[in-house]
């Protein structure tokens, strides 16, 4: 079917501004992705999946500029012993990065695997993204596969002693970065992936994660700092038997963020938790779009998303649990809640369940509300000043999402960032 003219024009205008990297081994995957993209077209305002978030600035030929955030604050996770992989405006920096060797894992730059004939990543690049295009189209992810200019391939074969930390620095006010990472966690292997930083004025990031039977991946991400940055990210995760995937995202600041999580539980007894806490003030639009597919028996999935919004900030949640035929004993949970600190802010939610198996326990809920006045009075009656009491209740509201982080030290860092955010506001 031909695309509507406007969509086709917008798509071609965007593509005209891009050059496909001359990447031998991923070439085929890239060309296939481009073909997919041309068929779908880039997202437009009338697309159902973009009903609550305007894609205009994410698909424009040029990235809107974004001022750099001046701060003395140390970067997130600085206090942790980790293997740092640094990208500046979307370009890998060998200088700023650590040596990429560590026991239990092998890390290659995307660029380097392209000159090898045989590499595991060739079997993954673009594959999960392509699977994730049905039943809902995700054109920005296809664009990413086709045009990603950098990224890493992480092969986890053991239990590396340190987390792998992907750091995205933003240096130019007009940078437009497209990064694509592929991760394979082998059977019984376990790794923690950290991500942080504003990355670029506009950031399109795609991560494909393949977790083999019994593998575990923890993902903790902090997006923030630069107020004017924009980001569209996709995480595609395919999970084998008894595998575990736990992902948490903290978002503070940023005019526009769209985070898509596409999780496919394909092996029995797998556990997937995706969570997010976001705090937005003023010009801030944050969209969590999650799609979890249960295609195996006795799997558990949790989606826990909490948003604190003030001064006209907007939060969006589109979350779906799809339980396929035969995915019996599925335990699916989904909660999305917003705390609106004033009347100007808004939360738009579309929670969905689609179930084709009969022996399942799935629940979902979505709420939006103000600070609980009764609780606030109770705290104040004990002498806690209004501002502190409001902050306590705000952190308490976010706690269910933050509690999804298993590592206590990491959870503490997230909480202290949230406290700082609250403290900066009066």
């Amino acid at each position: 079917m031909a695309l509507p003219q406007a969509k086709q024009t917008a798509t071609e205008e965007r593509l005209a501004a891009l050059t496909m990297p001359d990447a031998g081994c991923t070439r085929k995957a890239r060309e296939a992705a481009l073909a997919r993209l041309r068929e779908m077209g880039l997202p437009g305002r009338r697309d159902e999946y973009w009903k609550y978030t305007r894609p205009d600035t994410l698909i424009s030929a040029e990235a809107p500029s974004a001022a750099l955030f001046e701060t003395d604050e140390p970067m997130m996770f600085h206090e942790f012993d980790r293997l740092k992989i640094v990208f500046i405006d979307g370009v890998f920096s060998a200088e700023a990065s650590d040596d990429l060797t560590m026991e239990g894992v092998s890390i290659d730059r995307l660029e380097d695997i392209c000159c090898k004939d045989i590499h595991w990543a060739k079997e993954l690049y673009g594959v999960l993204e392509a699977r994730g295009q049905t039943p809902v189209q995700r054109p920005l992810a296809a664009l990413n596969t086709a045009y990603a200019s950098d990224g890493v391939a992480i092969h986890v074969t053991g239990k590396p002693s340190r987390p792998i930390s992907l750091i995205y620095r933003h240096a130019s006010e007009t940078s437009d970065a497209i990064l694509h990472h592929v991760i394979r966690v082998e059977s019984g292997a376990e790794v923690t992936i950290l991500e942080n930083g504003p990355a670029a004025s506009r950031f399109n990031k795609c991560m494909e994660i393949d977790i083999a039977d019994g593998g575990t991946l923890h993902h903790i991400r902090a997006q923030g700092r630069d107020h004017q940055r924009r980001a569209a990210t996709h995480m595609f995760t395919r999970m084998g038997t008894e595998s575990v995937y736990k992902s948490f995202t903290l978002t503070v600041n940023g005019v526009l963020t769209r985070n898509e999580q596409v999780v496919e539980l394909t092996g029995d007894d797998a556990v997937a938790h995706v969570a997010g806490a976001c705090v937005g003030d003023g010009e801030f639009h944050h969209d969590d779009t999650v799609f979890v597919t249960h295609d195996a028996v006795n799997c558990e999935s949790r989606q826990v998303f909490k948003k604190v919004l003030r001064n006209g900030a907007t939060g969006v949640f589109q979350g779906k649990i799809l339980v396929k035929e035969g995915a019996q004993k599925t335990d699916g949970y989904q909660i999305s809640q917003s705390l609106l600190l004033d009347d100007d802010s808004q939360f738009l939610a579309k929670p969905e369940l689609e179930i084709y198996a009969d022996d399942v326990a799935c629940s979902h809920g979505s709420t939006s509300g103000a600070i609980d006045e009764t609780a606030l009075f109770y705290l104040r009656s004990r002498g806690v000043p209004t501002k502190d009491a409001t902050d306590m209740l705000t952190l308490a509201f976010l706690a269910e999402a933050v509690d999804e982080i298993e590592d206590e030290a990491l959870a503490e860092v997230i909480v202290s960032r949230l406290q700082e955010w609250l403290a900066r506001r009066s």
Partner: protein, 251 residues
């Protein structure tokens, strides 16, 4: 200590007057009890004194040690030494009991220009006080009042009172929902705090509590007013005969 004069209070949202001229003076070191039929305005009085929203004072005054209470924010009243043990303690998911109490204690100390308690000192004090109220360590770690039984919530109120060491303690039906042993524990907790510089206003429906916490003065509240004041015997009279005689007498 506490001086309430001709206090008139109506609901902010509606033209409904609930307190219709309350006069009440509590001397330092004394325990006053308030009894009265359901709906007579006892809890409303305690809320208005502690500064809850939703009420409008249309006339009268309330002062704590000479300081006008009605002008202060709830947290300022707390720092000035006022404490209300709630009839219905509030559950606050996500806020740890211990964190809550430490924040409250230190906020009050700060407001009074005192040094904050260190984490270690705080822990030592709270452990001892919790123990005497039979509140176990697990309850201290749990979110404020969440999943607490009715009696546990009331004990938790008394623990907060013991930690905050207020001058003027208002207990709103702290005895309701307590079993016999818990009632003893709570009363002992209250009695331990009794001293010359601290006063109590104990709202209750039952003489039982007053067996343990011996009041100096008993007031009867009806239809938004203190209609009768007497000694401890007045509570016994209510216990035996109900309110009918007293109300008939004042009308």
């Amino acid at each position: 200590m506490l001086e309430i004069k001709n206090l008139h209070v109506k609901l902010e949202e509606e033209e409904k007057e609930i307190l219709k001229g309350v006069d009440l003076t509590v001397e330092p070191g004394k325990v006053h009890a308030i009894m009265g039929p359901n709906g007579s305005g006892k809890s409303t009085l305690s809320y208005v004194l502690s500064g809850r929203d939703g009420y409008e004072v249309t006339a009268g005054s309330a002062a704590l040690e000479g300081e006008d209470l009605l002008d202060l924010e709830p947290e300022e009243r707390a720092a000035a030494g006022l404490f209300l043990a709630f009839q219905y303690p509030v559950e606050i998911p996500g806020v740890g009991n211990m964190t809550f109490l430490r924040t409250a204690v230190n906020a009050q100390r700060k407001a009074r220009g005192e040094d904050e308690l260190s984490a270690a000192d705080f822990l030592k004090v709270i452990r001892a006080k919790a123990k005497s109220l039979k509140i176990d360590a697990d309850m201290l770690k749990r979110p404020v009042n969440v999943g607490f039984s009715g009696g546990e919530k009331k004990r938790n109120e008394i623990l907060q009172m013991a930690m905050l060491e207020p001058k003027m303690c208002i207990l709103d039906e702290t005895d309701s929902g307590l079993d016999v042993d818990a009632m003893k524990l709570v009363s002992e907790g209250v009695n331990a705090l009794r001293d010359e510089g601290r006063s109590f206003l104990v709202i209750t429906h039952y003489q039982r509590l007053l067996d343990h916490i011996k009041p100096d003065v008993v007031h009867i509240m009806a239809d938004g007013r203190i209609v009768k004041t007497g000694g401890p015997d007045l509570a016994l009279e209510v216990e035996h005969n109900g309110y009918a005689d007293i109300l008939a007498e004042v009308n």
